[in-house]
């Protein structure tokens, strides 16, 4: 029970922290802004408390008292800070998500609610039926969590080069968070990792729905929610306790904040700061997060050079970097000092480049990609079919202010995905086994972010304006 309370406190800390430096302050609709902060806060809070726990553990100071002491102190300080900032700004009326006028929104809400409850009920049942999670959950992430939650000094085993079958060089965000809950609860149970997995899934859905609502209104947001709930491969992995859905959350958080940064009503500095936090935490969640981190900064700087507005963009990149710093520093510490890379992909050096000449590997990777796209859903309710229906009937409308953020987001996602393909092309492991055992999860890592970009580019779902009526102007105070 205390373990679950420690998880709840981590979520509360994240929520209060995000509310105190709110990236979507004044954006409408209000429910979406609060939901966005709660979902982003869940991701940020899990990351932050996981980092604090790891540092306590390494310092030999991790105990139930220390965990709850720090949690309560953080909640008190952040609640005080939030109280101070809450009334400090006059409300503005951003038109982004607020002007949705669609007479059937209530019906979409009912449908989304039914789909969510149906899916959630089955996910909870699955989590109960499979309390230890799937292979990587117990053989990798929760194994390392047990070391981190162990007696003094046992944390070193999580990074032992003797763990040849458990990737000791993998980042520790998820393991450290589960270990924190176990240490706080005083018992190693199956509840903490299962709850953590479901929290990340809920945060993922909430992030997508709220971000689309802030940019495109409630009706588009509910459709986005219905499409992601139709992604059956995502639902299948949700209770597995793998790190791919947490990673998808951090990707989506960063991409959503970069897009929201384009909205004139969002607090640009904090939007970029939290995007940086998500990027850093992605790197601290899985190795693929490092590719995401590099791609975001490369794309940002490329845009700066392209637009020749180095000063402005460098200042923006500064906010991004400030947010990413904790995750980046921990990743560097892990990779260069604690557990130098032992993965054959890295240790093979330049010999992997020779595999780039093998045309068969390209065919195999492309085949696996299309196969996994096909298996994202099933039958007529396949999410790609749903997107095609929306694209054909609702059509496209990309507002000028979202053009650049959407370009950046698309470039980042494309580069990340290409880097994944590059890894497959160069891996010294058996390619067939590698793509069979991981490609579906790699597709899912970027899928929610892709959905967000799709719904930003899709025309707002609303009742058509009567002919001759001028569109409402944005009212910004």
């Amino acid at each position: 029970m205390l373990g679950v309370i420690s998880i709840a406190l981590a979520l509360l800390i994240g929520f209060l922290l995000v509310r105190a430096f709110d990236p979507v302050r004044n954006l409408k609709p209000s429910w979406a802004a609060i939901l966005f902060d709660a979902a982003l806060g869940a991701c940020v809070g899990i990351g932050l408390t996981s980092i604090i726990f790891l540092l306590l553990d390494v310092a030999g100071a991790a105990s139930r008292t220390a965990i709850f002491g720090i949690d309560i102190a953080l909640v008190a300080v952040l609640a005080w800070q939030w109280r101070g900032t809450r009334f400090g700004h006059e409300p503005r009326y951003a038109s982004d998500g607020a002007k949705s006028g669609f007479r059937w929104t209530w019906l979409l809400t009912v449908a989304f609610g039914i789909a969510l409850v149906t899916v959630w009920a089955r996910l909870v049942q699955t989590a109960i039926a499979l309390p230890v999670g799937d292979w990587d959950a117990w053989a990798l992430w929760n194994l390392r969590a047990k070391f981190l939650a162990g007696p003094d000094g046992a944390w070193r085993y999580a990074l032992s080069p003797l763990l040849t079958n458990s990737h000791p060089d993998y980042p520790l965000l998820l393991s450290a968070f589960v270990a924190r809950a176990w240490k706080a609860g005083g018992v190693v149970d199956t509840l903490a990792p299962a709850v953590t997995a479901l929290v990340f899934f809920a945060a993922l859905i909430a992030l997508l729905v709220s971000a689309v609502a802030l940019v495109r209104g409630a009706a588009s947001a509910l459709l986005a929610g219905l499409v992601i709930l139709s992604t059956s491969s995502l639902l299948a992995w949700a209770p597995s306790q793998y790190a791919d859905i947490p990673l998808a959350c951090y990707y989506l958080g960063a991409i959503a904040l970069i897009i929201l940064h384009g909205s004139s009503a969002a607090d640009g500095r904090w939007a970029l700061f939290w995007a940086g936090v998500c990027t850093g935490e992605a790197a601290w969640t899985k190795n693929e997060g490092n590719a995401f981190l590099v791609c975001i900064f490369v794309v940002f700087l490329t845009f700066a050079l392209w637009q020749r507005r180095m000063g402005t963009v460098l200042s923006r990149a500064g906010w991004l970097l400030a947010g990413a710093t904790p995750g980046v520093l921990l990743t560097l510490w892990l990779k260069f000092f604690l557990a130098p890379a032992s993965d054959p992909l890295v240790t093979q050096g330049l010999s992997g480049l020779a595999r780039l000449h093998d045309v068969n590997r390209y065919t195999q990777v492309a085949g696996a990609f299309f196969n996994n796209l096909f298996h994202l859903g099933s039958g007529a309710a396949h999410p790609l079919i749903l997107l095609a229906i929306l694209g054909i009937l609702v059509r496209w409308q990309l507002e000028e202010r979202y053009k650049k953020p959407v370009l950046i987001a698309t470039a980042v996602l494309a580069l990340v995905f290409l880097s994944y393909c590059g890894v497959y092309l160069m891996t010294p492991s058996t390619l067939a086994w590698q793509v069979q055992s991981s490609f579906d999860r790699l597709v899912l890592q970027v899928w929610p972010s892709f959905l967000l970009v799709f719904f930003v580019v899709l025309r707002r779902v609303e009742d058509p304006e009567p002919a001759g009526k001028k569109p409402r102007a944005n009212r910004l105070k």
Partner: protein, 145 residues
Amino acid sequence: MMMAGQPSSGQILAACATVTLLALWSAANFYHASEESPEANSDVYKIGEQAARFEDLMSALPATGVVGYVSDLPSSQTLGAVLYSGAQYTLAPRLVINLSLKPGAEWVVGDFSKPLDVVQFGKDRGLTMVRDFGNGAVLYRNQAR
């Protein structure tokens, strides 16, 4: 602003209705499909059973430290890998490592998939049996230490 022609209200309504119905069908399908294939949601690697199998052995081991591991199945085989990884997870926070990788470990866990002469199996590897906990779980002490 990048724009395509504005859709009619009928087109928007048709899109919403189709997506909604298909998504609801997908959710119901997910609910029933996972109900009909319980093996997909069960502990196929029997990790839960490992905890029960090693329960008594665990109490005989120190709370932490490096523990050796021997088995009748090589970890290069699928079942051997399942047993090895399962034992590592179950016995953590002790670091369970194949004896060939860490020959100096004082305590060694024997994890067997079938009945065999566990005393002789240990002797062949310089190990003295401390106790056979049954169900393939054996505790050895390393003589070569």
